[in-house]
């Protein structure tokens, strides 16, 4: 992997960016005021020494909100992908391992979920579950899961015909153990790469739901919702809406820079070029 960083200046940029964001988001909140401390006398103040990114309509420190919101956003992204991973991989592995009619029926369901544009299904589900952060996360995870299911299924299909599977079945290994210790453990590599690629998209989608009012509810700091909540002050205090929006861009960009280089690295044909 040492050649990886040397050849990929863009990936290095991404890693540096992500490192800086992680540091700011993890350590930053110890140095700022509370993200929900109201100071009406000082509302919509432009950036200054006391408030580096200014204040919002309630006089809350924008930097504090962005940093706290960042913790939420990163946790959300990882949580969503983890949930989608578990749902999709379990589904796909069982389908691929079972084969036959079970596989057919299960994969048609996956096809049906993929027949929706991603954001539309997430919006429809989140709207049905009711507006809350947990429901938005569940909705995005359900929309992402089919992609994991597809990869997991093809892995399971390929692995289930291997000689070591026959050997394991011959010595009487039970089905749950077969699935976990043999199928999943041997097929997990591509799934993990896919999970790292999915992180940026997951954050973008959850932030979009937040922007549409279907995610985190006020006064919690979440980037998508914070952009939407401050649209009314765009003319007089643009920093309030722009700061969390730019934060989303930077996080997603850093994940994509790294994911892009990883995809290149794992594709020898493209690496040779």
């Amino acid at each position: 992997m040492s050649g990886f960083w040397a050849r990929n200046r863009l990936a290095l940029m991404g890693a540096g960016l992500l490192g800086a964001i992680l540091l700011a988001v993890l350590a930053g909140p110890f140095f700022t005021t509370s993200p929900i401390a109201i100071d009406i006398a000082n509302k919509l103040a432009p950036p200054s020494a006391a408030h580096w990114l200014g204040t919002d309509f309630f006089g809350r420190d924008v930097l504090a909100r962005v940093l706290h919101g960042g913790r939420a956003t990163l946790a959300i992204g990882i949580g969503v992908v983890a949930l989608a991973f578990v749902l999709g991989v379990a589904f796909g592995t069982v389908a691929g391992f079972a084969g036959g009619a079970t596989d057919m029926v299960m994969m048609r369901l996956v096809d049906a979920m993929l027949a929706f544009p991603g954001l539309v299904l997430a919006i429809a589900l989140a709207a049905a579950f009711g507006p809350s952060l947990e429901n938005a996360m569940l909705a995005v995870a359900i929309t992402l899961a089919p992609q994991f299911a597809r990869v997991a299924r093809s892995q399971a299909l390929a692995i289930s015909v291997k000689p070591y599977m026959e050997a394991a079945m011959a010595i009487g290994v039970g089905t749950p153990r077969l699935l976990l210790r043999y199928v999943l453990r041997n097929g997990i590599g591509p799934l993990l790469v896919q999970a790292s690629l999915a992180l940026g998209g997951a954050i973008l989608q959850t932030a979009s739901l937040g922007f549409l009012g279907l995610g985190a509810q006020p006064p919690a700091a979440e980037w998508g919702a914070d952009v939407a909540g401050n649209l009314a002050y765009l003319r007089d205090a643009p920093w309030v809406a722009l700061a969390p929006g730019i934060a989303i861009l930077l996080v997603v960009l850093s994940f994509n820079l790294i994911g892009d280089a990883l995809a290149d690295w794992f594709n020898p044909r493209r690496r040779a070029a």
């Binding site: 863009l10 049906a112 027949a115 539309v120 932030a207 979009s208 649209l231 929006g245």
Partner: protein, 337 residues
Amino acid sequence: MGGYALRRLAALLPVLFLVLVIIFHLTRFIPGDPAVTLLGPGATDVQIAALRAQLRLDEPMGMQFLSYLGGLLRGDLGVSLKTGAPVAREILLRLPATIELSVLALLVAIVVGLPLGVVSAIRANTAFDHAVRLVSLLGVSMPAFLLALVLQLVFGIALGWLPISGRTSPFFLDDPVTGFAVIDGLINGDAEAAWDAFLHLLLPTTVLAAFLAATLGRFVRNTMLETMGEDYIRTARAKGLPERAVFFVHALRNSLLPAVTVVGLKFAEMLGGAILTETVFAWPGIGRFMFDAIRNRDYPVIQGATLVFALMFMLVSLAVDLIQALLDPRIRKRMAS
């Protein structure tokens, strides 16, 4: 070809059935009694009973689904809880605005993204290539609403050049002929109205096109580079073909085929992804309609819009597959055998 198209269409039917099952169940995910939740705290028992009847919540699940399917066959998507108007008509009314925006964005994205991807591949690993890669990564990482806000701030508020919301200025409400504002202006011989509508299109189109152009540019660059490693490229070079011919005849043509798929699928996604863009620009299309429905918890509208988005997505995917088969002799051959 006809046989292939029919087979592909038939393969869509079970998927379509499951899509309908999912959409039908959306209202059943609402916690508690949907009628109570939808009407809010102030509702009387009579109102709740009326809504339960309207939503057919009293009937057994199977019957509800059958009557839902029956309605669909008659083009009946239910009635908006907010306005009482048929959902199908409301959606048809807004469809031109969404199509106008997406088609224009598609054209812009192809004109911008395709050449950038090609040149980036020709000059791989140069400063130009790095710049294009970085900008296109920015494009795919950018939340649509952020780009929209920046454009509104710069071109609308700071410079005052372009309108930042709506489809026409209030005093240019022409008689709709086709439903496409620019074309209607031209048909009515009202150049000013057409120009006004065109100006309104610019910012939302840019937002939609930016994401698609970035995706397309990245994809074309990567496929071109992969194609350049193929054996037939080595053969072409060994034959002594000039590098220009190798690139444009052999590499480009073979890279454009998969690009058709990506553009098609992203276009279909864009029809639905326009929800964010339409919302920020108050663009009166289906996306904005769905957003308003979410705020009003107007379930029949959410279901109807979701169905329309899914149908468009499925049809465009099918069309993309068929175009692919038309363009690629290898796929044609496989179909014939």
